[in-house]
């Protein structure tokens, strides 16, 4: 039976291919992780700056969310296509795109987290002689941490997915396998790239949740009866 013969010769996953490409799979996974880390790191730094401005000068919050919102809605392929003439097929192009997708989520969560700090806590802190910077670093930021980490988790998952697309503009990462699989109509690398991308997203998400758990023991305090 021809159909059966086809299945026998063309299995969904060729374990032999995976075995032969272990080293490259490892390299590209690390590369994927690094591209993600850079994007989220830079995105977080920029978002923190934007948030501080928005919190200090309330009227800028609208424009900040508008601009980051527009960035967020641009289709990623279109954004890369737009950037390539200026920044080439470079990591810079990839990172500009990736960073711009994190901003809206991160700014919103940072601002919401800080806004969520009880006014009584803020008033008590000011009344005891806290200056603005110390209030922000020692009181507001730690209390906003759960909301901020929630934003980081969403942003990171988004970026892990988007990094697969940056291989179109010549970047590494697990997208290379997906692209390769698509070009050759060869399922094994396609599946390897997709599955590892999902696994990476889950691992980073769990790690961030663990970090939050470690950093905010107070939020687990049981309420007095």
């Amino acid at each position: 039976m021809p159909q059966r013969a086809f299945l026998a010769t063309e299995p969904l996953i060729r374990w032999g291919w995976i075995w032969d490409h272990l080293e490259e799979i490892r390299t590209q996974t690390v590369e994927h992780f690094i591209l993600t880390g850079i994007a989220v790191g830079i995105g977080f730094a920029i978002a923190m700056g934007l948030s501080i401005v928005a919190l200090r000068f309330r009227r800028t919050y609208g424009p900040v969310t508008w601009v980051t919102g527009v960035l967020y809605t641009i289709p990623s392929l279109a954004l890369f296509a737009f950037l390539v003439p200026y920044t080439g097929l470079s990591t810079l192009t990839a990172e500009i795109g990736l960073v711009s997708y994190t901003l809206l989520i991160l700014v919103r969560n940072i601002v919401a987290g800080i806004d969520g700090v009880s006014p009584a806590v803020r008033e008590a802190a000011v009344g005891m002689g806290y200056g603005r910077a110390r209030l922000f670093l020692e009181i507001e930021l730690p209390l906003a941490l759960p909301v901020i980490v929630a934003g980081l988790r969403i942003a990171t998952i988004t970026v892990v997915g988007l990094v697969t697309i940056t291989s179109i503009i010549g970047q590494g990462g697990l997208g290379l396998f997906i692209l390769d699989g698509l070009r050759r109509d060869f399922y094994t690398p396609l599946i390897v790239g997709s599955v590892l991308s999902v696994v990476l997203a889950v691992v980073i998400d769990v790690a961030l949740a663990g970090l939050e758990w470690l950093l905010s023991p107070w939020s687990r305090a049981r309420t007095a009866g």
Binding site: A124, A125, P217, W218, A221
Partner: protein, 367 residues
């Protein structure tokens, strides 16, 4: 600033856009080491006055002196570190333990760890917290415990001045009374200059050495010791604010120990029925209390007297409500109206000290 009086010198606060001032040309002297209670309806500017003292709100005009120094000349952060601040919602830092919360101002002032640690131990004991609560987070404490931590945190660096903005308004009435009593005994030791904002006239009377009654716009309608405010309200506004229970409120300012007691209808346990009847007739009552060796055995109705039996041999009914010299006349009045005999029985420890009657109590209200 160990002896820190607070002077408000023609202080006015006008909020942007408001047609009337929140506080208008207020002149007020808050004596060092005493409790000044600011009380009045909402909109009377009492909280604004309080917050101008630690510069959370800046006055539009006028000067405020703390310990003789114009606070405008001081760095606001340094000023605030020298002034304890307690607010209604407590505002404990949820991410810090009880210990860390109390250590807030010492940390800002750069105290070393040993000094801070010693001070925390002292304060935990002073405000009546259990040492095992020190590692807990605020969410693990009851409302009353949180406010105790709030008071300890405000007292941490031993500031001469304490600002309290309706600190006990959010806790239930039973806990509130206990916190008020604790603040009173704490203040008896510490002698801080306390500014206490409340909307509750009873609380103001109970805690204030001076009570300032404010009208809308920060108008000071009367500023006097509580006895004087209740006894001689300066004007119709104060009278109305004090309400219909002014007499009762005055009773809460007088201790049972401050009035002379009556011996009441008492007989010794050795006495016979004839002597008991004589006492009842003299006092105009139909019961008599039995005393043996200075201790009150209880009381018996006239109808229960038995010929030939000594009073000590009869089954006496116990007095259910005990009053001591520390209770107020208001509490004694409560004891009177809830007793069968219409008297409040006053004890000194286990010994019988005397009785209070309605007549005796009203003598203290009507000059």
């Amino acid at each position: 600033m160990s002896e820190a009086s607070i002077s408000l010198d023609h202080v006015t606060k006008r909020y942007g856009g408001a047609s009337t001032a929140a506080v208008e040309d207020l002149v007020m002297e808050m004596p060092a080491g005493r409790v000044t209670a600011l009380v009045g309806p909402s909109g009377c500017g009492k909280t604004t006055i309080l917050k101008m003292i630690n510069r959370i709100i800046e006055p539009t005009s006028g000067r405020i002196l703390v310990g003789g120094r114009d606070i405008q000349d001081l760095d606001p952060h340094a000023l605030r570190r020298g002034i304890g601040y307690v607010i209604q919602q407590v505002g404990l830092f949820p991410h810090r333990t009880v210990d860390e919360n109390i250590a807030t101002v010492p940390k800002l002032l750069g105290w070393d760890r040993r000094r801070t640690e010693r001070r925390i131990e002292e304060l935990i004991e002073m405000v009546g917290l259990e040492p095992e609560m020190r590692d807990r987070y605020p969410a693990e404490l009851s409302g009353g415990q949180q406010q105790r931590v709030g008071v300890a945190r405000a007292l941490a660096a031993d500031p001469p001045v304490l600002l309290m903005d309706e600190p006990f308004a959010a806790v239930d009435p039973i806990v509130r009374v206990r916190l008020q009593d604790e603040l009173r005994s704490l203040q008896a030791q510490l002698q801080k200059t306390i500014v206490f904002v409340t909307h509750d006239i009873d609380e103001a009377i109970k805690l204030g050495d001076q009570v300032a009654i404010l009208d809308v716009g920060g108008a000071l309608r009367q500023y006097a010791p509580p006895e004087e405010v209740l006894g001689k309200p300066a004007n119709a506004f104060v009278e109305e604010f004090l309400g219909k229970e002014r007499g009762l409120r005055r009773l809460s300012l007088i201790a049972v120990g401050d009035v002379s007691l009556e011996d009441g209808p008492t007989v010794s346990s050795d006495a016979g029925p004839a002597e008991a009847r004589e006492v009842m007739a003299r006092e105009g009552v139909d019961w008599v209390a039995v005393v043996r060796d200075g201790e009150l055995r209880g009381w018996v109705w006239e109808s229960e007297l038995e010929p030939g039996r000594k009073m000590g041999d009869l089954a006496a009914r116990p007095f259910l409500v005990r009053v001591t010299a520390d209770n107020t006349l208001r509490e004694a009045l409560d004891a009177i109206v809830t007793s069968h005999n219409q008297v409040a029985v006053v004890y000194d420890g286990d010994r019988y000290a005397g009785m209070l009657t309605l007549d005796r109590i009203s003598e203290n209200l009507v000059p």
